[in-house]
Point group: C2
Chain length 191, copies 2
């Protein structure tokens, strides 16, 4: 069991509806030491990839990506979830549906910040059905860049997002893969 799995066992809470609450350390209150360990682990797992940019999506991905970027010495670009008046000019757009919020959002990245020269590591906090991730991959493809890797903190292995991404041949690394969880006993089973 790795450091993130141990932390999930210690402080994660299983709620009905396959909700895993990790808000005390990962995505509302943030343990920065944990983020640093995650960043170092992503660097180790992607050490053979040629990466010059990290792409993530607001909001929970930003902190993880920024701390991880220190170990890669590359800039971060974060995709925005809705049209902003400050985002002028040409933009890459992908439509994604949020499992958590039951809403459709446009994922937007300015064309200024992704192009054919970019070798991208995508980072996000959760992977479940993979819609957000598919939107980010679509944006890198629109830019003509290459997805060199995908680093996820927690993958819900009982949903099919991860399987689809692996079937497509991407180098996906999830630091913790939850294969089952029981909201009555609180038990969490990792792959």
């Amino acid at each position: 069991m790795n450091f993130l799995e141990e932390r999930i066992i210690k402080d994660g809470v299983v709620k009905p509806g396959n909700v895993l609450k990790v808000d005390s350390f990962l995505n509302h209150q943030i343990d920065i030491d944990l983020y640093q360990k995650m960043g170092q682990e992503f660097k180790e797992r992607f050490k053979n990839e040629n990466i010059n940019k990290i792409l993530t999506i607001e909001a929970s991905g930003i902190g993880i990506a920024c701390v991880a970027a220190q170990y890669f010495n590359v800039p971060v670009v974060f995709a925005k979830k809705s049209h902003s008046i400050n985002l002028d000019g040409d933009m890459y757009v992908a439509e994604v549906e949020s499992f958590t919020h039951k809403t459709k959002n446009q994922v937007i990245v300015s064309k200024k910040f992704l192009g054919p020269e970019d070798h991208v590591l995508i980072i996000d906090d959760f992977l479940a059905n993979g819609c957000a991730l598919q939107g980010l991959i679509s944006i890198v493809q629109q830019a003509g860049g290459s997805v060199e890797g995908i680093g996820i903190a927690i993958e819900k292995g009982f949903q099919n997002g991860g399987q689809i991404i692996r079937n497509l041949g991407y180098h996906l690394e999830s630091l913790a893969i939850v294969d089952a969880m029981d909201d009555e006993t609180g038990e969490i089973t990792f792959r």
Copy 2:
């Protein structure tokens, strides 16, 4: 002129409507070295304050807060801007109006992550009319905690948010205060 002011002169773009675009290095694409310098500068400016938690607001504040938190060795809590089904239990709520997006949002923090024991440094990327900041201060006050300092990357000094906050007696430090900008010449005047 400090490092952030120099970067704004170099890469910032003045747009009509008093919009300062810093999306190539601060809030869409992110220069992590710059974030580290900002974090070190916040630590220097607040070195005499007793801080045990950093509070920010999604989305652009999160990365700045997470990188800065490494120099304070404290956790980050980020306020969420709309009600999420993953945020159950008791919450602190404040209503804020966004200057940029012309919308009203509820700013939400779980009561689990802020309390009377907290000595809080608030961090955000921009301060203009100060509505978001007022919401964050309100939330710390609801929690019974104390606001030990407020660290802002860029303050629009020609709007009154900063003046109000200073009048209220808060220790506000803005790394760059823009007193005027001209979208025809591109000229930016710092305080």
